[in-house]
Protein backbone atom coordinates (compact mmCIF):
# COMPACT_ATOMS: atom_id res chain seq x y z
CA UNK A 1 0.00 0.00 0.00
CA UNK A 2 2.72 2.43 0.95
CA UNK A 3 4.47 1.79 -2.35
CA UNK A 4 1.31 3.03 -4.11
CA UNK A 5 1.41 6.23 -2.05
CA UNK A 6 5.02 6.63 -3.11
CA UNK A 7 4.17 6.15 -6.77
CA UNK A 8 1.44 8.76 -6.46
CA UNK A 9 3.82 11.21 -4.79
CA UNK A 10 6.46 10.55 -7.45
CA UNK A 11 3.92 11.28 -10.19
CA UNK A 12 3.10 14.59 -8.51
CA UNK A 13 6.82 15.28 -8.23
CA UNK A 14 7.37 14.77 -11.95
CA UNK A 15 4.36 16.92 -12.84
CA UNK A 16 5.61 19.70 -10.59
CA UNK A 17 9.09 19.53 -12.10
CA UNK A 18 7.65 19.75 -15.61
CA UNK A 19 5.53 22.74 -14.62
CA UNK A 20 8.56 24.46 -13.07
CA UNK A 21 10.56 24.12 -16.25
CA UNK A 22 7.66 25.12 -18.50
CA UNK A 23 6.47 28.21 -16.64
CA UNK A 24 7.50 31.50 -18.22
CA UNK A 25 7.33 33.42 -14.97
CA UNK A 26 10.30 32.73 -12.71
CA UNK A 27 8.18 33.82 -9.78
CA UNK A 28 5.72 31.00 -10.42
CA UNK A 29 8.65 28.64 -10.83
CA UNK A 30 9.91 29.58 -7.36
CA UNK A 31 6.50 29.01 -5.74
CA UNK A 32 6.26 25.64 -7.48
CA UNK A 33 9.76 24.81 -6.26
CA UNK A 34 8.38 25.17 -2.75
CA UNK A 35 5.79 22.51 -3.56
CA UNK A 36 8.51 20.39 -5.16
CA UNK A 37 10.51 20.50 -1.96
CA UNK A 38 7.49 19.48 0.14
CA UNK A 39 6.91 16.48 -2.13
CA UNK A 40 10.57 15.57 -1.99
CA UNK A 41 10.53 15.62 1.81
CA UNK A 42 7.43 13.42 1.90
CA UNK A 43 9.16 10.96 -0.43
CA UNK A 44 12.30 10.89 1.69
CA UNK A 45 10.15 10.20 4.70
CA UNK A 46 8.42 7.29 2.98
CA UNK A 47 11.86 5.90 2.12
CA UNK A 48 12.84 5.76 5.82
CA UNK A 49 15.15 8.75 5.61
CA UNK A 50 13.82 10.82 8.50
CA UNK A 51 17.02 12.83 8.91
CA UNK A 52 17.17 13.72 5.23
CA UNK A 53 13.49 14.64 5.18
CA UNK A 54 14.07 16.91 8.17
CA UNK A 55 16.94 18.63 6.35
CA UNK A 56 14.88 19.07 3.19
CA UNK A 57 12.05 20.48 5.32
CA UNK A 58 14.28 22.92 7.15
CA UNK A 59 15.95 24.14 3.96
CA UNK A 60 13.14 23.88 1.44
CA UNK A 61 10.24 25.29 3.44
CA UNK A 62 11.63 28.77 3.86
CA UNK A 63 15.23 29.43 3.08
CA UNK A 64 15.49 28.34 -0.53
CA UNK A 65 12.32 30.26 -1.43
CA UNK A 66 13.69 33.34 0.30
CA UNK A 67 17.04 33.11 -1.49
CA UNK A 68 15.52 32.64 -4.92
CA UNK A 69 13.11 35.52 -4.33
CA UNK A 70 16.01 37.69 -3.17
CA UNK A 71 17.79 36.96 -6.43
CA UNK A 72 14.64 37.52 -8.50
CA UNK A 73 14.13 40.92 -6.91
CA UNK A 74 17.54 41.87 -8.27
CA UNK A 75 17.38 40.26 -11.69
CA UNK A 76 13.78 40.46 -12.88
CA UNK A 77 11.15 37.79 -12.81
CA UNK A 78 10.12 37.26 -16.39
CA UNK A 79 11.94 34.82 -18.55
CA UNK A 80 12.19 35.86 -22.17
CA UNK A 81 10.82 33.12 -24.35
CA UNK A 82 12.74 31.44 -27.10
CA UNK A 83 15.22 28.71 -26.45
CA UNK A 84 17.23 28.33 -29.62
CA UNK A 85 18.11 24.68 -30.03
CA UNK A 86 14.99 23.37 -28.40
CA UNK A 87 14.46 20.33 -30.59
CA UNK A 88 18.06 19.25 -30.29
CA UNK A 89 17.89 19.59 -26.50
CA UNK A 90 14.62 17.67 -26.37
CA UNK A 91 16.13 14.94 -28.51
CA UNK A 92 19.22 14.62 -26.34
CA UNK A 93 17.13 14.58 -23.19
CA UNK A 94 14.66 11.99 -24.48
CA UNK A 95 17.40 9.65 -25.67
CA UNK A 96 19.29 9.96 -22.40
CA UNK A 97 16.12 9.34 -20.38
CA UNK A 98 15.44 6.18 -22.35
CA UNK A 99 19.01 4.98 -21.85
CA UNK A 100 18.89 5.63 -18.11
CA UNK A 101 15.50 3.91 -17.83
CA UNK A 102 16.85 0.96 -19.80
CA UNK A 103 19.77 0.79 -17.39
CA UNK A 104 17.43 0.69 -14.39
CA UNK A 105 16.18 -2.77 -15.38
CA UNK A 106 19.48 -4.16 -14.19
CA UNK A 107 19.28 -2.36 -10.89
CA UNK A 108 18.30 -4.22 -7.74
CA UNK A 109 14.62 -3.87 -6.87
CA UNK A 110 13.59 -1.26 -4.32
CA UNK A 111 14.38 -2.43 -0.80
CA UNK A 112 16.23 -5.58 -1.84
CA UNK A 113 18.37 -6.46 1.21
CA UNK A 114 20.91 -8.26 -0.99
CA UNK A 115 21.66 -5.19 -3.10
CA UNK A 116 25.37 -4.40 -3.35
CA UNK A 117 24.92 -1.14 -1.39
CA UNK A 118 23.92 -3.08 1.68
CA UNK A 119 26.86 -5.48 1.62
CA UNK A 120 29.71 -3.15 2.48
CA UNK A 121 30.25 -0.57 5.30
CA UNK A 122 26.51 0.15 5.85
CA UNK A 123 25.83 -2.91 8.02
CA UNK A 124 29.14 -2.40 9.80
CA UNK A 125 28.08 1.12 10.84
CA UNK A 126 24.75 -0.18 12.11
CA UNK A 127 26.43 -2.95 14.03
CA UNK A 128 29.21 -0.88 15.58
CA UNK A 129 27.22 2.24 16.44
CA UNK A 130 25.82 0.88 19.74
CA UNK A 131 29.18 -0.58 20.67
CA UNK A 132 31.60 2.23 19.80
CA UNK A 133 29.47 5.34 20.05
CA UNK A 134 26.34 4.29 21.90
CA UNK A 135 23.83 6.75 20.51
CA UNK A 136 20.56 5.62 18.92
CA UNK A 137 20.78 7.72 15.78
CA UNK A 138 23.12 5.85 13.45
CA UNK A 139 22.96 8.69 10.91
CA UNK A 140 24.40 11.14 13.41
CA UNK A 141 27.02 8.59 14.45
CA UNK A 142 28.19 8.08 10.87
CA UNK A 143 27.98 11.77 10.05
CA UNK A 144 29.83 13.07 13.06
CA UNK A 145 32.17 10.31 14.05
CA UNK A 146 32.75 7.53 11.53
CA UNK A 147 32.87 9.89 8.59
CA UNK A 148 33.93 13.04 10.41
CA UNK A 149 36.39 13.93 7.66
CA UNK A 150 33.65 14.04 5.03
CA UNK A 151 31.53 16.28 7.18
CA UNK A 152 34.49 18.54 7.88
CA UNK A 153 34.90 18.86 4.11
CA UNK A 154 31.22 19.66 3.64
CA UNK A 155 31.34 22.30 6.35
CA UNK A 156 34.26 23.91 4.58
CA UNK A 157 32.35 23.86 1.29
CA UNK A 158 29.45 25.64 2.99
CA UNK A 159 31.93 28.06 4.55
CA UNK A 160 33.59 28.73 1.18
CA UNK A 161 30.24 29.27 -0.55
CA UNK A 162 29.30 31.80 2.14
CA UNK A 163 32.60 33.62 1.74
CA UNK A 164 32.09 33.58 -2.03
CA UNK A 165 28.68 35.20 -1.78
CA UNK A 166 30.07 37.83 0.58
CA UNK A 167 32.88 38.59 -1.87
CA UNK A 168 30.39 39.01 -4.69
CA UNK A 169 27.61 40.94 -3.02
CA UNK A 170 28.54 42.25 0.41
CA UNK A 171 29.22 45.86 -0.65
CA UNK A 172 25.87 47.17 0.58
CA UNK A 173 25.62 45.51 3.98
CA UNK A 174 26.01 47.65 7.06
CA UNK A 175 28.97 46.27 9.00
CA UNK A 176 28.12 47.50 12.49
CA UNK A 177 24.77 48.06 14.14
CA UNK A 178 25.39 51.83 14.17
CA UNK A 179 25.71 51.85 10.38
CA UNK A 180 22.30 50.33 9.79
CA UNK A 181 20.27 53.01 8.05
CA UNK A 182 17.11 53.94 9.92
CA UNK A 183 13.94 52.58 8.37
CA UNK A 184 13.37 54.84 5.38
CA UNK A 185 9.59 54.78 5.75
CA UNK A 186 7.11 53.60 8.33
CA UNK A 187 5.96 50.78 6.03
CA UNK A 188 9.28 48.99 6.43
CA UNK A 189 8.84 45.27 6.70
CA UNK A 190 5.36 43.93 6.80
CA UNK A 191 4.09 46.69 9.08
CA UNK A 192 0.74 47.06 7.46
CA UNK A 193 0.03 43.37 7.78
CA UNK A 194 -0.67 43.49 11.47
CA UNK A 195 -1.80 39.91 11.98
CA UNK A 196 1.26 38.17 10.51
CA UNK A 197 3.49 40.46 12.53
CA UNK A 198 1.86 39.64 15.83
CA UNK A 199 1.68 35.91 15.15
CA UNK A 200 5.16 35.82 13.64
CA UNK A 201 6.67 37.48 16.69
CA UNK A 202 4.98 34.89 18.84
CA UNK A 203 6.38 32.07 16.72
CA UNK A 204 9.99 33.21 16.53
CA UNK A 205 10.95 32.11 20.07
CA UNK A 206 9.37 28.72 19.44
CA UNK A 207 11.28 28.29 16.20
CA UNK A 208 14.50 29.10 18.07
CA UNK A 209 13.61 26.68 20.83
CA UNK A 210 12.82 23.98 18.31
CA UNK A 211 16.10 24.70 16.53
CA UNK A 212 17.97 24.12 19.79
CA UNK A 213 15.98 20.93 20.38
CA UNK A 214 16.91 19.63 16.93
CA UNK A 215 20.53 20.59 17.54
CA UNK A 216 20.94 18.79 20.84
CA UNK A 217 18.45 15.98 20.32
CA UNK A 218 20.25 14.92 17.15
CA UNK A 219 21.90 12.00 18.93
CA UNK A 220 18.57 10.46 19.83
CA UNK A 221 16.17 11.39 17.07
CA UNK A 222 16.25 12.94 13.64
CA UNK A 223 18.26 16.13 13.78
CA UNK A 224 21.72 17.58 14.11
CA UNK A 225 23.75 20.62 13.24
CA UNK A 226 22.79 20.96 9.59
CA UNK A 227 19.06 20.94 10.26
CA UNK A 228 19.28 23.08 13.38
CA UNK A 229 21.43 25.65 11.60
CA UNK A 230 18.83 25.99 8.88
CA UNK A 231 15.95 26.24 11.38
CA UNK A 232 17.65 28.95 13.45
CA UNK A 233 18.52 30.85 10.29
CA UNK A 234 14.86 30.57 9.25
CA UNK A 235 13.82 32.13 12.57
CA UNK A 236 16.09 35.12 12.04
CA UNK A 237 14.95 35.46 8.43
CA UNK A 238 11.33 35.50 9.62
CA UNK A 239 12.27 38.32 12.01
CA UNK A 240 13.88 40.19 9.13
CA UNK A 241 10.80 39.74 6.95
CA UNK A 242 8.43 40.95 9.65
CA UNK A 243 10.41 43.83 11.13
CA UNK A 244 12.54 44.92 8.22
CA UNK A 245 16.02 43.77 7.34
CA UNK A 246 17.69 46.59 9.27
CA UNK A 247 16.16 45.43 12.54
CA UNK A 248 17.54 41.94 12.01
CA UNK A 249 20.99 43.40 11.34
CA UNK A 250 20.74 45.46 14.51
CA UNK A 251 19.85 42.35 16.49
CA UNK A 252 22.52 40.17 14.93
CA UNK A 253 25.07 42.44 13.28
CA UNK A 254 27.22 41.47 10.34
CA UNK A 255 30.48 41.25 12.26
CA UNK A 256 28.91 38.76 14.64
CA UNK A 257 27.66 36.72 11.68
CA UNK A 258 31.14 36.64 10.19
CA UNK A 259 32.51 35.36 13.48
CA UNK A 260 29.82 32.68 13.48
CA UNK A 261 30.74 31.60 9.95
CA UNK A 262 34.40 31.23 10.80
CA UNK A 263 33.91 30.17 14.43
CA UNK A 264 31.81 27.10 13.67
CA UNK A 265 34.29 25.74 11.15
CA UNK A 266 37.14 26.55 13.55
CA UNK A 267 35.40 24.76 16.41
CA UNK A 268 35.07 21.67 14.23
CA UNK A 269 38.75 21.79 13.26
CA UNK A 270 39.80 22.49 16.84
CA UNK A 271 38.04 19.36 18.10
CA UNK A 272 40.03 17.41 15.54
CA UNK A 273 43.30 19.01 16.59
CA UNK A 274 42.45 18.44 20.26
CA UNK A 275 42.27 14.73 19.49
CA UNK A 276 45.74 14.94 17.96
CA UNK A 277 47.15 16.85 20.93
CA UNK A 278 45.79 14.23 23.30
CA UNK A 279 47.76 11.62 21.44
CA UNK A 280 45.35 10.12 18.95
CA UNK A 281 44.31 10.69 15.33
CA UNK A 282 42.72 13.79 13.85
CA UNK A 283 38.97 13.77 14.64
CA UNK A 284 39.23 10.78 16.97
CA UNK A 285 37.01 11.78 19.87
CA UNK A 286 37.64 8.75 22.04
CA UNK A 287 40.50 10.48 23.84
CA UNK A 288 38.49 13.58 24.78
CA UNK A 289 37.35 11.94 28.02
CA UNK A 290 38.70 9.11 30.13
CA UNK A 291 35.93 6.84 28.88
CA UNK A 292 36.08 6.44 25.06
CA UNK A 293 32.30 6.42 24.67
CA UNK A 294 31.89 9.56 26.76
CA UNK A 295 34.65 11.08 24.63
CA UNK A 296 32.68 10.24 21.49
CA UNK A 297 29.59 11.90 22.96
CA UNK A 298 31.50 15.07 23.79
CA UNK A 299 33.12 15.14 20.37
CA UNK A 300 29.82 14.67 18.54
CA UNK A 301 28.07 17.40 20.51
CA UNK A 302 30.93 19.82 19.88
CA UNK A 303 31.27 19.21 16.18
CA UNK A 304 27.50 19.27 15.64
CA UNK A 305 27.54 22.62 17.40
CA UNK A 306 30.27 23.80 15.03
CA UNK A 307 28.25 22.64 12.03
CA UNK A 308 25.12 24.37 13.30
CA UNK A 309 26.92 27.65 13.95
CA UNK A 310 28.54 27.73 10.52
CA UNK A 311 25.35 26.83 8.69
CA UNK A 312 23.36 29.50 10.53
CA UNK A 313 26.06 32.09 9.87
CA UNK A 314 26.42 31.29 6.19
CA UNK A 315 22.69 31.22 5.46
CA UNK A 316 22.15 34.53 7.26
CA UNK A 317 25.14 36.17 5.56
CA UNK A 318 23.79 35.08 2.19
CA UNK A 319 20.33 36.38 3.06
CA UNK A 320 21.67 39.77 4.13
CA UNK A 321 23.92 39.98 1.08
CA UNK A 322 20.94 39.57 -1.25
CA UNK A 323 18.60 41.77 0.80
CA UNK A 324 21.06 44.64 1.16
CA UNK A 325 22.01 44.57 -2.51
CA UNK A 326 18.49 45.57 -3.47
CA UNK A 327 18.71 48.78 -1.51
CA UNK A 328 21.98 50.06 -3.01
Amino acid sequence: MIILFSVFLLALLVITALAIVRSESLFTAVILSGIFSLLMAANFFLLDAADVALTEAAIGAGISTVLFLGALALTGEQERSGSTSRLLALGVVTVTTLIVIYATFDKPRLGDPDAPVHQHVGPWYLEKTPELIDIPNAVTAVLASFRGYDTLGEVFVVFTAGIGVLFLLSAGIARRPEDVPPADKPGQGLRHYLVPRVVGRMLIPFIFLFGLYVQFHGDYGPGGGFQAGAIVAAAVILYALLEGEGEALRALPMHVLKWLVAGGALLYGAVGVAGMLLGSNFLDYSVLASDPIAGQHIGIILIELGVGITVTGVLLCVFHAFAARGKV
Binding site: I35, A41, A57, A61, G62, P222, L241, G326
Partner: protein, 93 residues
Protein backbone atom coordinates in the same frame (compact mmCIF):
# COMPACT_ATOMS: atom_id res chain seq x y z
CA UNK B 1 -8.09 3.86 9.10
CA UNK B 2 -4.83 5.75 8.70
CA UNK B 3 -4.87 4.60 5.09
CA UNK B 4 -8.18 6.32 4.39
CA UNK B 5 -6.88 9.61 5.79
CA UNK B 6 -3.63 9.25 3.85
CA UNK B 7 -5.52 8.68 0.62
CA UNK B 8 -7.79 11.67 1.24
CA UNK B 9 -4.74 13.83 1.95
CA UNK B 10 -2.91 12.64 -1.14
CA UNK B 11 -5.90 13.32 -3.38
CA UNK B 12 -6.24 16.78 -1.88
CA UNK B 13 -2.55 17.40 -2.49
CA UNK B 14 -3.13 16.53 -6.14
CA UNK B 15 -6.11 18.91 -6.29
CA UNK B 16 -4.04 21.67 -4.69
CA UNK B 17 -1.27 21.00 -7.20
CA UNK B 18 -3.77 21.38 -10.05
CA UNK B 19 -4.83 24.71 -8.58
CA UNK B 20 -1.20 25.78 -8.32
CA UNK B 21 -0.63 24.88 -11.95
CA UNK B 22 -3.81 26.58 -13.21
CA UNK B 23 -3.28 29.81 -11.32
CA UNK B 24 -4.60 32.11 -12.68
CA UNK B 25 -3.29 34.80 -10.32
CA UNK B 26 -0.14 34.54 -8.25
CA UNK B 27 -2.32 34.55 -5.12
CA UNK B 28 -4.08 31.40 -6.26
CA UNK B 29 -0.75 29.66 -6.62
CA UNK B 30 0.33 30.90 -3.23
CA UNK B 31 -2.93 29.73 -1.67
CA UNK B 32 -2.36 26.32 -3.21
CA UNK B 33 1.24 26.21 -1.98
CA UNK B 34 0.14 27.09 1.54
CA UNK B 35 -2.56 24.47 1.44
CA UNK B 36 -0.04 21.97 0.18
CA UNK B 37 2.09 22.77 3.22
CA UNK B 38 -0.67 22.09 5.74
CA UNK B 39 -1.60 18.90 3.91
CA UNK B 40 2.02 17.78 4.10
CA UNK B 41 2.01 18.34 7.86
CA UNK B 42 -1.09 16.15 8.18
CA UNK B 43 0.33 13.53 5.83
CA UNK B 44 3.62 13.33 7.71
CA UNK B 45 1.88 13.04 11.09
CA UNK B 46 -0.36 10.25 9.84
CA UNK B 47 2.51 8.38 8.17
CA UNK B 48 4.63 8.65 11.30
CA UNK B 49 1.92 6.64 13.05
CA UNK B 50 1.41 4.35 10.09
CA UNK B 51 5.09 3.45 10.33
CA UNK B 52 4.81 3.08 14.09
CA UNK B 53 7.63 5.56 14.72
CA UNK B 54 5.90 8.50 16.40
CA UNK B 55 9.24 10.06 17.28
CA UNK B 56 9.40 11.29 13.69
CA UNK B 57 6.69 13.85 14.37
CA UNK B 58 9.54 16.37 14.56
CA UNK B 59 9.35 16.58 10.82
CA UNK B 60 5.71 17.65 10.80
CA UNK B 61 6.56 20.10 13.56
CA UNK B 62 9.22 21.77 11.38
CA UNK B 63 6.73 22.29 8.60
CA UNK B 64 4.05 23.52 10.98
CA UNK B 65 6.52 26.11 12.29
CA UNK B 66 8.33 27.35 9.22
CA UNK B 67 6.12 26.71 6.24
CA UNK B 68 4.61 30.09 7.00
CA UNK B 69 7.94 31.82 6.19
CA UNK B 70 7.63 31.00 2.51
CA UNK B 71 4.22 32.69 2.25
CA UNK B 72 5.42 35.75 4.17
CA UNK B 73 8.50 36.01 1.95
CA UNK B 74 6.44 35.88 -1.24
CA UNK B 75 4.02 38.53 0.08
CA UNK B 76 6.92 40.76 1.06
CA UNK B 77 8.38 40.30 -2.42
CA UNK B 78 5.07 41.25 -4.07
CA UNK B 79 4.78 44.32 -1.87
CA UNK B 80 8.31 45.44 -2.70
CA UNK B 81 7.67 44.94 -6.37
CA UNK B 82 4.52 47.05 -6.21
CA UNK B 83 6.30 49.76 -4.26
CA UNK B 84 9.04 50.06 -6.86
CA UNK B 85 6.60 50.01 -9.77
CA UNK B 86 4.67 52.80 -8.01
CA UNK B 87 7.76 54.97 -7.66
CA UNK B 88 8.64 54.28 -11.28
CA UNK B 89 5.25 55.45 -12.51
CA UNK B 90 5.40 58.43 -10.21
CA UNK B 91 8.83 59.60 -11.34
CA UNK B 92 8.43 58.48 -14.93
CA UNK B 93 4.90 59.76 -15.49
Amino acid sequence: MYYAVTIATLITMALALVRALLGPSIYDRLLAANMFGTKTVLLLSVIAFLYGRPDFLDLALVYALINFIGVIAVLEFIRDREDTSDTETRTGG
